[in-house]
């Protein structure tokens, strides 16, 4: 009983994000002319999964107390790589996918190596490397284009057994195969420890360097998965700075809405997924209520403010002002 209470208390952020998403999505479906049909769900899922993956990628550096401004650019870069390599015979496609994912992981590793061994601040490091990755994307794809294996793209963007959107299955697979094992590994817990109190983690014998490197590398890999998915959705590659920038900023918003602390140490990728879903559902809501899409940034901003305020609501309960600063 006490266990359950503690666990619920410690996952308040995630639970709240899930609840808000369910409410918003129900509202959306209730007002959608077609209701909850498979195509409606699939379209919603495909858009949402992209941001969810990038938000997961953002979560890892944030947990260690850092911030990754390059996730959006890795996303774009891997999209451009995929638009050149993921086509041809099945063998070539498979190799292409592996290269795309490795590219993402390598980009993340470079971020991590600079942060860990160069002792530079994550924000500045990733601001710089992000520009580099965007530059690489531009060199690969000066103009939008390229191609991707259409059969595979169809599979990935439609449904499994004509019921469940494949992209959701992919997201679930990423959670089960990458996130959950990572969270329960020694290195994963090291990331939480580092984000919570780096000095204490060091004194406890936590391998700080390895934890941070793993966080950034995995972050790059997840951004790579997102880049691959983007290619399947758009059938092409485009080195678009606005898209990269938007995804980076939205990923930070999704992480916060999902209950992960920007100070590090608390939260997780599941929350970020629902944070991303919430942000995405805002567009859909605007659509079904016939509001012009121009309102979207305004609403996103309001939701973000509300989310942050909810996190700060504890301020009103605090009667010892010193605790405000902890």
């Amino acid at each position: 009983m006490k266990d359950l209470k503690l666990r619920l208390g410690q996952s308040q952020g995630v639970l709240l994000a899930i609840l808000v998403f369910v409410l918003m999505f129900t509202l959306y479906i209730a007002n959608h002319p077609a209701g909850l049909t498979v195509p409606v769900a699939t379209t919603a899922a495909n858009k949402a999964v992209l941001l969810a993956l990038v938000a997961m990628a953002q979560t890892l550096p944030v947990l260690t107390g850092g911030l990754d401004l390059s996730v959006g650019m890795i996303f774009i870069m891997t999209n451009c790589v995929a638009s050149s390599l993921v086509s041809g015979d099945p063998w070539q496609v498979a190799v292409g996918i592996v290269i795309v994912l490795l590219t993402g992981a390598l980009a993340g590793f470079v971020n991590g190596a600079i942060v860990v061994y160069g002792r530079l601040q994550p924000i500045i490091t990733t601001l710089a490397t992000g520009a580099v990755y965007y530059g690489i994307a531009l060199l690969l794809r000066p103009v939008p284009g390229g191609e991707v294996d259409e059969d595979l793209a169809d599979i990935m963007t439609y449904t499994v057994f004509e019921v469940v959107p494949t992209s959701l299955v992919l997201l679930l697979a990423v959670v089960v195969i990458i996130w959950l094992p990572f969270r329960n590994s020694v290195i994963g817990r090291g990331c939480y420890a580092v984000g919570s109190a780096e000095g204490a983690a060091y004194m406890s014998g936590v391998s700080i360097d390895r934890s941070k490197l793993a966080a950034y590398t995995l972050s790059g890999l997840l951004a790579g998965v997102a880049g691959l998915m983007l290619t399947f959705i758009t059938f092409s590659g485009e080195a678009s700075a606005p898209i990269g920038g938007t995804y980076t900023l939205n990923s930070i918003a999704a992480v916060v809405i999902g209950g992960t602390s920007l100070y590090g140490g608390t939260g997780g990728a599941i929350g970020s997924i629902f944070g991303a879903f919430i942000l995405r559902t805002i567009d859909d809501l605007l659509f079904v209520f016939d509001l012009p899409p121009l309102w979207q940034p305004l609403f996103q901003g309001v939701v973000l403010l509300v989310a942050v305020s909810l996190g700060a609501a504890r301020v009103f309960r605090i009667r010892n002002r010193l605790e405000l600063f902890k």
Binding site: L6, R7, R189, S196, A201, S204, R319
Partner: protein, 528 residues
């Protein structure tokens, strides 16, 4: 080559030392922290390390624990030379250290923290069930069955955290356990429990290095004592071979006179500067009434965590929703914020509990720290009058004899005792009429303590009203004109004059009434 002096120093357990330091030296830039230290430690013994702050104790244990590397000399374990590049390396050789600064991660659960270094794993992943079982076993070993293993460390009070820290260290199965002021934040009951555990570990053959500034702890626990001074190992002797006075002399290297300044004899009670009546807050403070006169030092006693800290915070305007009445110099005031509390019309200063987070801005210079609370006094238009300010800062640093290479050095580079002096200097700069102190001598060496006692008495003699919370009974007895003992958010007893003795303090802290005590120790709230 054997150093005859070293062998005589370690004469207490000849030949049985499994761990020794030979010719260890450590320099930080030009500063010598340790010089040519020979030191040895035997299994099955509690070895106390004594010395003022800056004597080299912390450096010694940091070297032993692999946190810093010695610049000279070697570490010998079981007859073989070893080097500890990281704390991990030291841990793997069985050396585990419990540091003064807690090594817990606040956002993680108690179980996660306890099993941080070597978690039980299954198929490469952390086995949460086994981890929890281990945490529960260790928690019950240190008598903390009330701490839930899934609770986040940040939700625990300081004293429980310290016990979790000890449980965590025991979980590493050390051969040598180092405790650096490990009992400073504990409640009396926990301290007893820790003593019991340490004695038990000694029986099992563990070597224990024990650093504490509390003499009675050392008397109670230690088998062997080593005194350090100015980075040198002065002497090692068996417990009882030296008297307290001799030990203190060895530590400070000068004649040990009376440690507390004389209390003034008063015929009448002084004019009250601070009067509190029926102050309540949340469920932590209830109906507190107390007064502090001009020139008086009033002590707050009792077990740790009975509301003393909250009372001081309330009087400094930190708490919201405080009920009751506070009068300063006869005028009713509502203390709404520290900024208001420190203002000229109120004149309250608080020396906080944790100098590192609440007292100082560690990366900023000594000068900036000292001027932080009084900066408003040195303005010319919108600018700071540096010249006038610097003159006063230098004067204050001299008055408190703060030992600092350059006053523009970051305050983080100072020793604990000097850092605390900077905190006090900062508040003296505000010319406060009422000074509140929250355990100001915690983790500070004897010499600095003595200076602080004298300073407090000087302030009081100059008319300042002082309210001092301390966890050290000796200070209540030695420093205070009156003592109010708190229990469960209330003041349960007020002691004056000869009634301020250890027996009364301990009994009142436990909310007991001893026979024959009623005449000297009056219940709180009654006029004298």
């Amino acid at each position: 080559m054997t150093d005859p002096q070293a062998s005589s120093r370690n004469a207490v357990h000849p030949g049985s030392a499994f761990w020794r330091m030979q010719g260890i030296g450590k320099r930080y830039g030009g500063v010598v922290a340790l010089e040519d230290v020979d030191f040895a430690c035997a299994p099955g013994a509690i070895h106390a390390i004594l010395g003022e702050n800056g004597a080299g104790k912390s450096t010694l244990i940091k070297i032993a624990a692999g946190v810093v590397q010695p610049s000279a000399g070697k570490l010998v374990l079981d007859g073989a030379e070893v080097t500890f590049a990281t704390p991990q390396a030291a841990n793997s050789q069985g050396t585990v250290c419990i540091f003064q600064e807690l090594s817990l991660m606040p956002d993680l659960s108690v179980a996660d923290n306890i099993c941080m270094a070597e978690p039980p794993c299954r198929w490469g992943l952390i086995d949460h069930r086994e981890q929890r079982r281990r945490a529960e076993a260790l928690l019950s070993r240190v008598g903390c069955e009330d701490v839930h293993p899934l609770e986040l460390v940040k939700n625990l009070p300081l004293s429980r955290r310290q016990m979790v820290e000890i449980a965590k260290a025991l979980g590493r199965n050390p051969r040598m356990l180092i405790l650096d002021e490990a009992t400073s934040a504990l409640t009396a009951a926990d301290v007893e429990k820790v003593y019991e555990i340490l004695r038990d570990l000694r029986r099992q053959g563990m070597a224990i290095l024990y650093i504490s500034h509390r003499m009675h702890e050392i008397e109670e626990l230690a088998d062997t004592c080593s005194v350090f001074r100015n980075g040198r190992h002065i002497e090692t002797f068996a417990k009882g071979a030296r008297s307290d006075n001799e030990i203190v002399q060895l530590m400070i290297g000068r004649e040990y006179t009376q440690i507390y300044p004389a209390k003034p004899v008063r015929e009448t009670r002084p004019v009250p500067e601070l009067e509190v009546s029926k102050l309540s807050w949340s469920n932590r403070l209830s109906e507190i009434s107390l007064s502090v006169g001009k020139g008086e030092i009033v002590g707050l006693g009792g077990l740790d965590g009975q509301g003393q800290r909250e009372l001081l915070l309330a009087l400094f305007g930190v708490l919201r929703g405080v009920s009751g009445e506070v009068k300063i110099d006869g005028n009713k005031v509502r203390l709404s914020s520290p900024r208001f509390a420190k203002s000229d019309e109120i004149g309250v200063a608080l020396i906080p509990e944790d100098r590192k987070s609440e007292g100082l801005l560690l990366p900023m210079s000594v000068r900036d720290n000292i001027s932080m609370a009084s900066i408003g006094r040195f303005t010319r238009g919108i600018f700071i009058d540096r010249q006038r300010q610097n003159a006063e800062i230098d004067e204050m640093a001299r008055r408190l004899s703060i030992k600092v290479g350059d006053i523009d050095d970051p305050v983080a580079t100072l020793s604990g005792g000097n850092q605390q002096k900077v905190v006090i200097a900062k508040w003296l700069m505000t010319d406060a009429r009422i000074v509140l102190l929250n355990d100001p001598t915690r983790g500070i060496d004897v010499g600095t303590k003595q200076e602080i006692y004298q300073l407090l008495r000087d302030l009081a003699d100059a008319g300042t009203a002082i309210l001092l919370y301390t966890t050290d009974y000796d200070e209540l007895i030695g420093c205070c004109d009156r003592v109010s003992i708190m229990y469960d958010g209330r003041i349960v007893r007020e002691l004056t004059g000869d009634a301020i003795n250890e027996e009364n303090i301990v009994a009142s802290a436990l909310n007991l009434t001893l026979d024959g005590q009623a005449e000297t120790a009056k219940p709180a709230g009654e006029p004298l």
